[in-house]
Amino acid sequence: MIRWFESYFENSLAIRLEILDSIWETLYMVGTTALIAGVLGIALGIVLVVTEDGGILENQKVYSQLERAVNAFRSVPFIIMLALIAPFTRLLVGTSIGTTAAIVPLVVGTVPFYSRQVQNALLEVDRGVIEAAESMGSSPFEIIIRVYLKEGLPSLIRVSSVTIINLIGLTAMAGAIGAGGLGNLAIARGYNRYQTDVTLVATVAILIIVFISQVIGNYLVKKTSH
């Protein structure tokens, strides 16, 4: 068994430490991006929900501008986005190459998608419940925190886990600008150097990360739903 593994996965074994590094890099990119894009996405999602027609802070102008921006950014293919915002990245972190530099396009690529998801999740909160809160004298801020976010929590967790899985896919693409991580490993090592076993190992590692995020997501949804 061990010998079989050694003979088929000799390339992977040779770069064991590099694989561990790649896993760490992927987790770092996903984690940091999720944190930053999470805050921004939830904020924008809330703005979309409350400024919408019939929302608690209805504002046609803000809503239509924001919606247009979200749609535009969502339409740009991520691989092009990487190149497109490279100057901005350089301005922000000093370089456009490397793991930390990848976080800028990852955030820009994730926020529009996530804010739309947040919007949909919060729209699932019954309009009648919002009205009830208004009738009890709640302020718009109170309604956002104590009704939208609290009542919409299970949906928010659900869309967050979808977004994280999506984000893991994007980190693989960010490998194209030398971001490192499992995606880079699979392409630069496995594919370009004909070390198919490395590609396989990288894929399995990504699948495991996706699987774990999904399990955690489902658990939390279940735990917060009543």
Binding site: V129, E131, A132, A133, S135, M136, G137, S138, R146, H226
Partner: protein, 356 residues
Amino acid sequence: MIDLEKVSVTFTNKEETVTAVNDVSLTVEKGDIYGIVGYSGAGKSTLVRTINLLQRPSAGKVSVGEQVLSDLGPKELRKARKKIGMIFQHFNLMRARTVAGNVAYSLKDSGLSKKEISLKVEELLELVGLADKKNSYPSQLSGGQKQRVGIARALANDPEVLLCDEATSALDPKTTASILKLLKRLNQKLGLTIVIITHEMQVVKEICNKVAVMDDGRVIEKGNLVSVFTEPKAELTYEFIDTATHKDQALEKLESHPALLDLQADDQLAAITYVGDSTKAPLIASLYAKFGVTTNILYGNVEILQQTPVGNLIVVFSGESRQQDKAIAYLKSKQVKVSQLKASRPASIVQQEKIS
């Protein structure tokens, strides 16, 4: 307590302007249970939402208590809303909070301590009869229980007014009755002023002391319950009352089964309405004794409205036609309303004449 002065609400979109509420003036006194009845689309839900300004009127003035709500800034308005409870057709409870959490929702910034809040919540749940469901989630409750939570929640800030927007329309008749009983009790015990929006005259009949009938954004008739019930003026009011007393169903049945009627040459079909004291005398029996007119009762119904009995009968008079006329005159002299029904088309009731 509540004063609506020439309130109008219009909705404008690209194609058209819809007037949901059209120049409505209404006064609700302290301690009233005021019923507003109308078909869906009549504008009654919009009207009730103007009372706490969930719907800002396009014109007119809304006052509750001493305050003119339409003049208040956002902050004062929110404060005023805490003193106006509201319950809804679909309960609108927060799924993520327990029963106690829902009731406590609006007490957060009330200045009460945690312990005081929890005491208050228990008191309120006791009041609506749900003390044992404190830690349940709304999804574990029946419709009637959910509405009780809604009521407890609406009363959390000791409001003087409770608005009920079709609060029993999603409930079965038995649960409806128990919720109405609870509302009545709250009205008597707390002196709560209640406004009830409904499409069921049954509900109004059960607990209201005043009623307004709405149609197409306007209040077409309003007043004291007993007088509106016994002397309705508008056609639509008739319709609602007949539904509530099931007279419409009875007439329909008679119409579709002519055999039930079996009218002879001189017979006539009539509807009889009597109020209060005249219910005590055995009038029907005396018709035969005095005039030789037999009265065949096809349908009967007695309602108690605000402690006043109101009776409705559908009868066939037979006997000599002159004697019949005398008998009818006699009934009228006893404060009983008699209206002849055309057997061929009973629904179009001949306008009842008013007896003084």
